[in-house]
Symmetry: C2
Subunit: 653 residues, 2 copies
């Protein structure tokens, strides 16, 4: 019991630290009136969208909560609603701070790099601490109230539901705006990124916040909840040898993760004079080392042996190796990105072909690493070990989210600097930070995907054990049918996401073209564009298009379960992971590689900015944008929600 | 025993009919000297490539045969070599006739449509009859010699190996040439398709033969063998209730398919005055109806009941429904293609995005249809029923291959007409046939994929039964690892194929650009380009790049089997099908849809030929080319070869 108590203490610490970080952001200067105007426009657009998104989601939450209450009891419904609210809260507060940190980062950049770095990082820290604090607090309180981790699954489903809608909706919003603004502005009109003459520029900057801050936060929130739950659930049913400690360990381990993360974050502060990437890396590595030591001590104290620790370590090591693999496939100084850049010389078709090919091929290694980690974790601690390995990856989620949210904040700061006509030196400072943000974003993406893959394997095993399906044969026809349906689901889901982005980007391009055509003096910078129209297009399209993929994902396991039986759902779950995992890697790596190939050319290689080669690479980057920021990350949530919904409804199949 | 004898009779009939069709092609006129020169250049390029390809494959065949002989006995090695030789023979003879039919089709087109239709169709018929005749003959003779279908599996592996190399090699060849010629010629220089000034035009026309004739034939040959084998093998081990008839029925059923197909082909002759598409459709439908009746009679006679017939019927019906689904997603008068065409208005990025999205989404329905057919087939006749359903699809392969090979022959005829400066009326005739060829090609593609999916599920079940793995649990860790490795394999494999196409197309573009730059008077048509250089680029690149994906596919099940055990291979097999099937559908549908969206615009819609919208659609089509003709169809073979290799080596794992 004593170790469990670490959980509420750590989560309250996390929330307090979030408040402290928010205060540190808030006390920063906000700069010129022009900067404040732009920041206000971004803030308004983002908050309006987020509120509307939550209103849309609230309807589904209410209906599902009623259904859950009738079918599975009031506590499950309560847990579900709490999960949804906590997720929304983390997203809301995190984003509310991020849209205030952007202008303060731009202002800080006027006096140097280190102040800007810290302001943006404090902004990101709020999201990171909200996510891990609320996740652990919610799980702990509901477990305290019910005494049974299975009663807490509803919390996970609520979190997944909001996570899914936020990822899909935010992803459609941000990429439709980004692609639309790029195609009609940068490609067709030849004006620079973030140019105030581009009617889509505010929508683009809003998109960074609703997609890469709020959406990402909700995604990581549900991963965090899922990982803790998976380990607790297996602690109850699968690994009786660990007794009650099997349920307490995940809570304590996660608490240790929060403390390690906070220390890691404080270290970023201490070494503020170093290169920005080094400063952030130090924080991440310090967190990782601290949590490893903590896991070792906890395992020894709670289980009297290190087997569980070794399982955790295999998860942490896999995360590390995957980080290196991600860097190899997405960094502009490595062969894959160079190959894409070079192939752009023959036009956009070969550029896209090479990127698609590279992305597909690159999915192989991460799968091998994950398989290796599963084998190790299983050898050390059985099914429980697999869940602990997933939790090991999640343990430093606090700083990962912080570093990830850092990206869109500096991206916004760059935009504000450009649009307010600040000294080009400021823009260079924010651009330097932006490029750091891109690298960390890619690493975090790899982290989120592998974590989701790992975690859902653990949840799949929970489902099989919970539904007494551990005697089901691989050759059972309904299992094979389930595998097929699960396997095609990520294709259909990604297709719907990409379709929404494509359609909305098309509308955006037409609107921007219209404004350039109809508003006289716009191109010359004498008149202002109508930013609001573009914000509205993204807002309504995102809200309209998040419903279908979201509902489909919840409905399909239920339909399969009630018609083909629980074995088919087992097939469905593992089938969906088997496809979604490589697909998510493919999309994330290809998307980032195209992006960096474009940047590599922009640095002056192969003809540089404005050349035909560059033009071809921009097209590739555009396709990649919706891969890496809409469809790809949404697949993480897809995997989790399928499993949590199935576990929840398993007794009824 | 009596029914089995239908097999040798039917296969000899098929081979004789192939000879008859070849004679009918040969007696056609060959036209002007210029036409013969061009045809000769295509013929030389194609035959040189095919011979070199077979030389490359022969090395692998020899090594593997020796290994098989040592590990599994001389008969298996013999069966393997026979499979490889028969496949190569079918491809060689089929293509040798196709490269003679092209010029005769062009010449016949000078006097009208119906003669040209029949010449091209006779040419395709040779390939169709060679494929089904040699497949059935090979299986029958080896079964006769050994008395045990398991001794015949080596024949299937030999056929799959050649099929894989031919599909991958031919696919890389044809698409690198096609894309290179299109990008550098059509897009950059603005000269028409098949223009003699384009240095890549001969390589492009050669590619149609080595990829779409020889490669496709080898692919369908191995599917045909695989389907017959799967049913015979399950007849032996899985469904003892059917006794010896369980092994004879597949042979008799396939023989009935050949007879029905020959009658269907003769009917195309009889109604030669109808619209070309109608004429071909009548042949296909007639074959389908005849084989259905035959299956009904055979099942009643051999088993005294219709359950097995119903299983076959569910396969035939699924093929029909899938044909309709294929048409919906790929025809230019249906919403998906229209949406792609419309999205091209905002540039190539949205065009590609919409195509990718549409393709991914479209994979859902075919999976549902296949699942439905599996459930039905299983209800009627258990695991044996699933294999029979696959065979039901394959029963009319003869005419499907004939109609599919018809496409590249008329495509070549168009090219020859254009390059020889024949009357534009001739080109219009061949273009009308070419457009028919595109539709039938798409339907055949859907057919080949669903057939491969169905068949490999049956082969997966054979593997599980044969290796005594029918008690393996879905939750076994090694099964889960196997599922993951299997699931990522189609991604890596497709990535390697696309990479090869991208790289070679890039070389081709550079070479064509060089010739336009360095050969004076080329653009104006005063001097001739150096066609041979382009042919050489495609030839050597295809030969170089077919090795890696091919060897990987054979090595991986062995590595997994010997290190992780036979259960892991079970996971690997079903995991690979679960991913490869939707992926193949996605690539085939998206590729064809882009192609038809481009054609729709070329017909004068949305700005017509030469507009920016058209330009965007051409880029989409280029990406799609390598999807639908290289990576997509290669996945069919990938699925089969994994299963046949695993069955063969199962006793050693």
């Amino acid at each position: 019991m004593a170790y469990e108590l670490l959980a509420p203490i750590a989560s309250i610490f996390a929330l307090l630290f979030a408040a402290f970080s928010a205060w540190r952001v808030h006390k920063g200067e906000t700069g010129t009136a022009r900067m404040n105007d732009i920041s206000q426009a971004i803030r308004d657009g983002a908050m309006v969208y987020l509120r509307k998104q939550y209103q849309t989601i609230a309807i589904f939450v209410a209906i599902i909560a009623m259904a859950l209450g009738l079918a599975l009891g009031a506590f499950t419904a309560l847990a579900f609603v709490t999960g949804a609210i906590f997720s929304a809260l983390a997203g809301y507060i995190g984003m509310a701070v991020a849209v205030r940190a952007n202008v303060r980062t731009a202002q800080a950049a006027r006096s140097g790099l280190s102040g800007a770095l810290m302001t943006a990082f404090h902004g990101g820290t709020v999201m990171g601490m909200m996510v891990v604090g609320l996740a652990l607090l919610g799980v702990y309180l509901l477990y305290l109230a019910s005494g049974d981790p299975f009663e807490v699954v509803g919390f996970g489903v609520g979190a997944s539901l909001v996570g899914l809608f936020a990822r899909v909706g935010g992803g459609i919003y941000t990429k439709a705006a980004d692609i639309g603004a790029d195609l009609a502005g940068k490609v067709e009109e030849g004006i620079p990124e973030d140019d105030p003459r581009n009617p889509g520029v505010i929508a683009d900057l809003v998109g960074d916040n609703v997609g890469d801050v709020a959406g990402m936060g909700a995604d990581l929130f549900e991963s965090n909840v899922g990982s803790i739950l998976a380990a607790m659930l297996i602690g109850v049913i699968g690994a009786t040898e660990y007794g009650r400690e099997g349920v307490s360990f995940p809570l304590a381990f996660q608490a240790a993760g929060i403390f390690s993360t906070i220390l890691g974050i404080l270290l970023v502060r201490a070494w503020k004079e170093a290169h920005p990437q080094t400063a952030l890396n130090r924080g991440i590595f310090a967190s990782g080392i601290l949590v490893t030591i903590a896991a070792c001590i906890l395992a020894q104290e709670m289980f009297g042996g290190l087997n569980v620790f070794y399982a955790a370590l295999s998860g942490i090591s896999a995360a590390l190796v995957l980080g290196l693999i991600t860097q190899y496939f997405t960094s502009s100084d490595k062969p894959p990105v160079r190959a894409i850049a070079k192939s752009s010389r023959a036009g956009s078709a070969t550029s896209i072909l090479t990127g698609l090919a590279m992305g597909m091929t690159s999915a192989g290694l991460p799968v091998v690493v994950i398989c290796g980690a599963i084998i190790l974790a299983y050898e050390f601690a059985g099914v429980y070990g697999v869940a602990i390995a997933a939790l090991g990856m999640q343990s430093i989620a606090g700083i990962i989210v912080a570093v990830d949210a850092f990206g869109p904040i500096v991206d916004n700061a760059s935009g504000i600097a450009e649009m307010s006509g600040l000294d080009p030196k400021v823009r260079r400072t924010t651009d330097a930070l932006d490029s750091v943000g891109n690298t960390t974003k890619a690493i975090c993406k790899g982290f989120a995907i592998s974590d989701a893959g790992f975690e859902t394997i653990a949840l799949f095993l929970v489902y099989m054990l919970h539904a007494n399906l551990d005697t089901v044969l691989l050759t059972t026809p309904s299992v094979i049918i389930g595998l097929f349906i699960g396997g095609v689901l990520p294709f259909v889901f990604s297709g719907l996401c990409l379709q929404a982005v494509g359609k909305t980007a098309f509308q955006m391009v037409e609107e921007i073209r219209r404004q350039f055509r109809e508003i006289s003096g716009l191109k010359e910078g004498r008149t202002k564009p109508d930013y609001t129209r573009c914000v509205d297009i993204s807002t309504s399209a995102a809200l309209r298009n998040l419903v279908a993929p979201g509902l489909m994902t919840i409905a399909i396991p239920l339909v399969v379960g009630f018609t083909l039986g629980p074995e088919a759902v087992g097939g469905l779950l593992i089938g969906s992971i088997v496809t979604a995992f490589p697909m998510a890697i493919f999309m994330a790596y290809a998307g980032t590689a195209w992006d960096n190939a474009k940047k590599y050319i922009e640095e002056g290689h192969l003809g540089g900015k404005g050349s035909l080669t560059h033009h071809a690479a921009v097209i590739g980057d555009t396709i990649g944008d919706s891969f890496k920021d809409t469809a790809g990350p949404s697949l993480d949530v897809l995997m989790t929600i399928l499993t949590t919904v199935s576990i929840l409804f398993a007794p009824l199949f």
